[in-house]
């Protein structure tokens, strides 16, 4: 496992990660994509989910919400609209969003944007799961 690929995760708020890794898994909009060094050039949108990367055999998980990934044989650039390390996740806020979204989904107001509410709910749940996992270990 000498081969490495350069990974960069940036969001409008911060440069979250920059360094060499052995493997990256990203939530492409058509499903999760595993990327190893020497991958063919690829461009994809990202959906809400979890990015995980392995560095020195240590796996790190990162929450990510939409954005793009560009893969080149020696470099992966992730431009996420939002991305947070497990300890950066605001659990209370995520819980509040979850409640809010659930309430919206239950309401019978015809103007409710169900698709958006579902996305919000998903986002909140993934955040909470990830935060929980990291505190469990």
């Amino acid at each position: 496992m000498a081969e490495k690929i350069e990974l960069e995760i940036v969001t409008p708020e911060q440069l979250l990660f920059s360094g060499e890794v052995e493997e990256v898994v990203v939530p492409g909009s058509e499903g999760y994509l595993g990327i190893l060094p020497g991958h063919a050039p690829l461009l994809s949108e990202l959906q809400i989910g979890v990015i995980s990367y392995r560095r020195d055999s240590q796996e790190t998980k990162v929450f990510c919400s939409r954005g793009f990934v560009e893969v080149l044989p020696d470099r992966v650039s992730i431009l996420a609209e939002a991305a947070e390390l497990p300890d950066q996740i605001n659990v209370e806020q995520a819980r509040a969003h979850q409640m809010q979204a659930e309430q919206l989904l239950r309401s019978d107001d015809p103007d409710t944007d169900y698709a958006q509410a579902l996305l919000d709910l998903r986002e909140a749940q993934i955040r909470l799961d990830l935060a929980e996992q990291s505190t469990a270990t």
Binding site: V10, Q14, L15, G28, P41, L42, S77
Partner: protein, 292 residues
């Protein structure tokens, strides 16, 4: 009347002192705003730079027919998005931008085809009286730079470009270099610029697109223009506070010099008048003695 004159000078000293108080307060306000603006631009830069890098490499490799925003047109229908400040008292901040924009128009010889989008009151006020058509004006948004304005501006830019109304769009803004230095930048937003590769083989390498390229490019390019506009606004905001801080610091220092020289003059005048009075009294007393 020498005595009255001293009072006039004292009044001037006091008014300069008042001005100094204001400039000093403005300097401190600018400094604290600058800190916040600086944090924002520093954290926004990596994303914007990465986005630009991805777009450039993409534009070089991808087939231009995949998306209308990738097509390079040679027309001369150019629009400048000129970012100035809403408020004055920040040195040559806005006039530098205005100068750079007008010089650009003259040098490129696009007097007939140019149009403008103005961000910030200073630029809007100045260009209102010039012959070039103004498409949009955004005034009073620089005190609270918000992504939603950047989105609005970028939407209109993209619409014009897609409709063929414009062939190229540039941003003109002050880049935040350091607290005391701003750089005027003229930057091309559309069409997306191609990266030059030394290695031709690398160019031939095209991407696998996970989604239909037209959908993917739609989203990506929209996001890209938005990011660049937003970044320019944040740069300009930070640069403006920096520029105001320097200007107000200089003003405070000038006020101090002025107070010193006025006080000196005032004291000298007071002394002269006292001396004259003493001489007069002595002269009067001697005259009385001689009379006896």
């Amino acid at each position: 009347m020498p005595g009255g004159n001293v009072r006039d000078v004292r009044r001037r000293v006091r008014s300069v002192q008042n001005i100094q108080q204001i400039t000093r307060a403005m300097k401190f306000v600018a400094a604290s705003k600058l800190r916040r603006a600086q944090d924002r631009i520093f954290s926004a830069r990596p994303y914007a730079n990465r986005m630009l890098a991805v777009l450039n490499s993409l534009a070089a490799r991808a087939n231009p027919e995949l998306h209308p925003l990738l097509v390079q047109r040679d027309g001369d229908k150019v629009m400048l998005v000129v970012v100035t400040s809403d408020r004055g008292l920040c040195g040559a901040f806005s006039s530098n931008i205005i100068k750079a924009a007008t010089r650009y128009i003259r040098e490129e010889n696009i007097n007939e085809t140019i149009s403008l989008t103005l961000v910030g009151r200073k630029g809007a006020d100045w260009f209102r009286h010039r012959p070039w058509p103004v498409r949009h004006e955004y005034v009073n948004i620089m005190s609270r730079v918000d992504l939603k304005y950047a989105q609005e501006i970028s939407r209109s830019i993209i619409d014009y470009y897609l409709a063929g109304e414009l062939d190229a769009i540039y941003l003109v803004y002050n880049e935040f270099k350091s607290v005391v230095q701003q750089n005027v930048v003229i930057e091309k937003v559309l069409p997306i610029q191609r990266l030059d590769f030394d290695d031709q083989e690398e160019v031939l390498l095209d991407h696998i697109y996970e989604q239909p390229p037209s959908v993917l490019f739609d989203h990506l390019l929209e996001r890209h223009v938005e990011t660049q506009v937003f970044r320019a606004m944040l740069e300009s905001e930070a640069a403006e506070h920096g520029s105001r801080m320097t200007a107000m610091d200089a003003a405070t220092r000038n006020a101090k010099d002025m107070i010193e020289s006025l006080t000196l003059r005032m004291n000298r005048m007071r002394q002269t008048s006292i001396t004259t009075e003493i001489i007069e009294i002595i002269g009067g007393a001697e005259a009385l003695v001689e009379d006896k």
